[in-house]
């Protein structure tokens, strides 16, 4: 039995509609009690030795953050990141649940790999939800066994990074995933239009002499996928069990893709999307002098696209903020821009950037920011007991100082890799504690 009392903090739990001073009691891995400040069953401080007390006065207490798009690189790419180091970075960033993409070596095609990723031997600090490969070896040809993957713990399927181009295969994926109640996540990129490209198509790419990925490579595939979902949902009845296909568009980066999702939702379809902090903050101009830490896929887009991401977040069409945490070893990024792998780390900067820009700068209410980082992504992938702090839910908590400014230094990152464009950036909202299923997995005091 372990018990934690979080005392005197300001609890914001958007899903439960709570916003006020509360004491929270965590017993073992669950939330045992939520009480008005000073009124919990553990009293004002008269506690036994086995109760750990966290003084949260002046701090925000919120459901542990949920990142539905991370690359933990295991199995097979431990030189970039391990499940242990990636989840340590997650904990430092306030995340208690991460959904891990299947583009590992080998790809996550089987229940064995799915279970291996969740085994205690991996040393995860926070809960890892594996996402299965939609097709064998993410080649877009043969479908994996979704029933077996789901039984092993997979929460969605995707061929992330290797979009499913063939209409017939994508249709099969949607049908079979829906049958199992699994979401289909698509990295929307028509790779027939992006061969040899390393940044967004536009004047900057022309000036830098780099081949550019046209925005239509993204939104064209989003529109294709929405057409398929429309066809499969047309009867309005869903499949035999009444399930409707759920398409989730990963890391949306173009104005047109957000518009397509907006329209699909108006049409009553289950289509959701996420946006990464770099896509609501940076533009293609940040590539600068061929900075490989500004190279990711989808690429940084135009200022108009960036503004559309901000607008989509503010007006609610965007369902989640997800980092697309994509660690790469330093030697892999210290190469010619065109040859550098895509991706940047993001777990330790997402909250600080979101609070600084979405909340303080663009005035999105704190509850909305936290919802985009916890309740909504948890609901989107059906992660039960996550993303909200009600009695009986998992004891996943983040406690942070919303006013504290701090500077993010890549060298201090818990991730094995340091490939971030946000090194040296001022953040807002310092994480003081992260608690995953009742265990303190990060505290600012003890881990510097």
């Amino acid at each position: 039995m372990s018990t934690i009392l979080i005392r005197g903090g300001h609890l914001i739990d958007p899903a439960a509609g709570v916003d006020g001073l509360k004491d929270i009691v965590l017993k073992d891995n669950r939330v045992a009690e939520i009480a008005d400040a000073g009124k919990s069953s553990l009293g004002k401080g008269k506690t036994g030795a086995e109760v750990q007390i966290i003084e949260a006065k002046g701090l925000i207490v919120a459901p542990g953050l949920v990142d539905i798009h991370v690359h933990l690189r295991e199995p097979g790419q431990g030189h970039k990141e391990t499940i242990a180091t990636g989840t340590a970075a997650a904990a430092a960033g306030g995340f208690t649940s991460v959904a891990a993409m299947p583009n590992t070596t080998p790809t996550n095609d089987t229940p064995e790999i799915t279970r291996w990723m969740q085994a205690p031997e991996r040393g995860a600090s926070v809960r890892v939800f594996p996402i299965g490969a939609a097709t064998r070896a993410i080649k877009g040809e043969l479908l994996n066994d979704y029933a077996a993957l789901k039984a092993a713990g997979v929460v969605a399927v995707t061929d992330d990074g290797h979009p499913i181009l063939k209409d017939s295969i994508m249709r099969e994926v949607l049908i079979n995933a829906t049958r199992q109640g699994l979401s289909v996540i698509q990295h929307a990129e028509d790779t027939r239009l992006t061969g040899g490209c390393s940044m967004n198509a536009g004047p900057t790419a022309f000036r830098l002499g780099l081949r550019g990925m046209p925005p239509e490579a993204e939104y064209g595939l989003v529109e294709r996928d929405i057409r398929l979902v429309t066809e499969l949902s047309m009867n309005g009845k869903g499949d035999k069990s009444g399930n409707h296909p759920h398409l989730h568009v990963a890391h949306t980066s173009t104005a047109q893709a957000v518009a397509a999702v907006r329209q699909a939702r108006r049409n009553g379809l289950r289509v959701t999307c996420e946006v990464a902090p770099h896509h609501f903050l940076l533009t293609e101009e940040h590539v600068g002098a061929y900075n490989t830490n500004a190279k990711m896929n989808p690429p940084l887009r135009s200022a108009a696209d960036r503004d559309a991401m901000i607008q989509g977040i503010l007006d609610g069409v965007v369902d989640a903020i997800a980092t697309d945490h994509a660690p790469h070893a330093s030697h892999e990024k210290e190469v010619e821009f065109e040859r550098a792998p895509n991706g940047i780390t993001g777990l330790e900067s997402a909250l600080g950037l979101s609070l600084r820009w979405l909340h303080h700068e663009w005035k999105l209410p704190l509850g909305r920011v936290l919802s985009l980082l916890s309740a909504q992504p948890a609901a989107l992938l059906g992660l039960r007991g996550r993303g909200s702090l009600t009695v009986g839910s998992f004891a996943d908590v983040v406690i942070f100082d919303p006013k504290q400014e701090w500077v993010f230094h890549a060298k201090d990152s818990k991730s094995k890799s340091k490939n971030t464009p946000f090194d040296g950036w001022t953040m807002q909202g310092k994480v003081h504690w992260t608690i995953s299923e009742g265990r303190v997995v990060f505290s600012a005091g003890t881990s510097a």
Partner: protein, 337 residues
């Protein structure tokens, strides 16, 4: 979450773009954007001084200093003229090319650069198929780097020698350039603009001196957004209209090695854009004809035009040595300072 109607776009304060240092060392030349008009004037003046200097005296300027030529792509003019330039100043040069070196074995640009530095190289002249490679090399080695052509990006020494060639004919005696030195001059660059580093360097440099640059070519080789690369750039797809208003016509080779699957009808291309004696006589009888080389006779221009009285192609090559002497001398002087 219910979806509200899209609000009219508001404009949000967003993170400022911290301009990256375009060039880490004042001795490097990675892009023509690194060059102020004062610097261009200095280089032009220095080129003249070095060209006119007694060769034996000149060879003492950089006696036994070490300069590496690192070439990941084939080159005749650029490599030879940089080498002659460095040797003319007395420096020891060594050529490392991607074939016949450890690059073939998988050594990275960073490690090759560090190796050259350890061997005593004080500056590196780099030609590389990847745009931006000179920034990487400069950052990792801390040495002055002269960009001898990076991918589709830039070829600044070519733009400088092109400028020297133009000035010799259009503004004889002028070597201190200002924002209106080339006022009234229109330079048309024709052909494969998309893949051309020469075009990019010229279209960024010439307008700084007041010239108007017209880009001319088919859509596949000249995207509309090229006109946004900088000020003073226009697109005119009609070849005759373009050359008939130009004092300089710069022809480009179609870069077959960079077409990346692009299908191009060469007969159609020649019909629209080949520079022939007839077109030249009819529409640009006084224009200076330039080409960075290598030329493909019978494709972008005919042999008669290449060898004709308006052609400055070999004069350009000649100016290359003087310009590159000035760049090499500057690289080592500034680095040593």
């Amino acid at each position: 979450m219910p979806v509200k109607d899209s609000a009219p776009q508001r404009s949000h304060a967003t993170p400022e773009i911290l301009a990256p240092p375009l060039c880490g060392s004042p001795a490097s030349v990675l892009s023509v954007n690194d060059l102020t008009l004062e610097t261009v004037s200095e280089i032009l003046a220095q080129a003249r001084v070095l060209e006119q200097e007694d060769p034996l005296k000149r060879a003492k300027r950089l006696a036994k200093r070490r300069i590496a030529l690192l070439f990941y792509e084939s080159s005749t003019r650029t490599r030879t003229s940089f080498e002659l330039a460095a040797k003319g100043l007395g420096a020891d040069t060594t050529l490392v090319s991607s074939l016949s070196s450890s690059i073939e074995k998988g050594e990275t640009l960073k490690d090759t650069g560090l190796t050259l530095r350890a061997l005593g190289a004080e500056a590196i002249i780099l030609r590389h198929p990847s745009s931006g490679a000179p920034w990487l090399l400069e950052r990792e080695t801390g040495l002055p780097v002269l960009n001898a052509g990076d991918g589709m990006h830039e070829h600044p020494s070519q733009a400088l020698l092109d400028l020297r060639t133009m000035l010799a004919h259009l503004r004889p005696g002028v070597e201190t350039v200002t924002a209106d030195t080339l006022a009234g001059v229109t330079v048309t660059i024709v052909g494969d603009i998309l893949h051309s580093r020469v075009a990019r360097s010229n279209m960024l440099l010439l307008p700084k001196l007041g010239a108007k640059v017209i880009l001319c070519g088919p859509k596949e080789l000249l995207p509309e957004l090229a006109a946004q690369a900088g000020p003073g750039i226009e697109i005119e797809r009609d070849f005759v209209k373009a050359i008939s208003q130009s004092q300089v016509v710069m022809m480009l080779r179609i870069q077959a090695e960079r077409l990346a699957g692009l299908q191009l009808d060469l007969e159609e291309y020649k019909a629209s854009y080949q520079l022939t004696e007839e077109r030249l006589a009819a529409h640009a009888p006084k224009a200076l004809v330039m080409h960075p080389g290598p030329i493909i006779r019978g494709l972008e221009l005919t042999g008669e035009v290449a060898d004709g009285p308006q052609s400055l192609i070999l004069e350009q090559v000649h100016h290359g040595v003087a310009i590159r002497m000035a760049l090499v001398a500057r690289a080592l002087q500034k680095a040593g300072a």
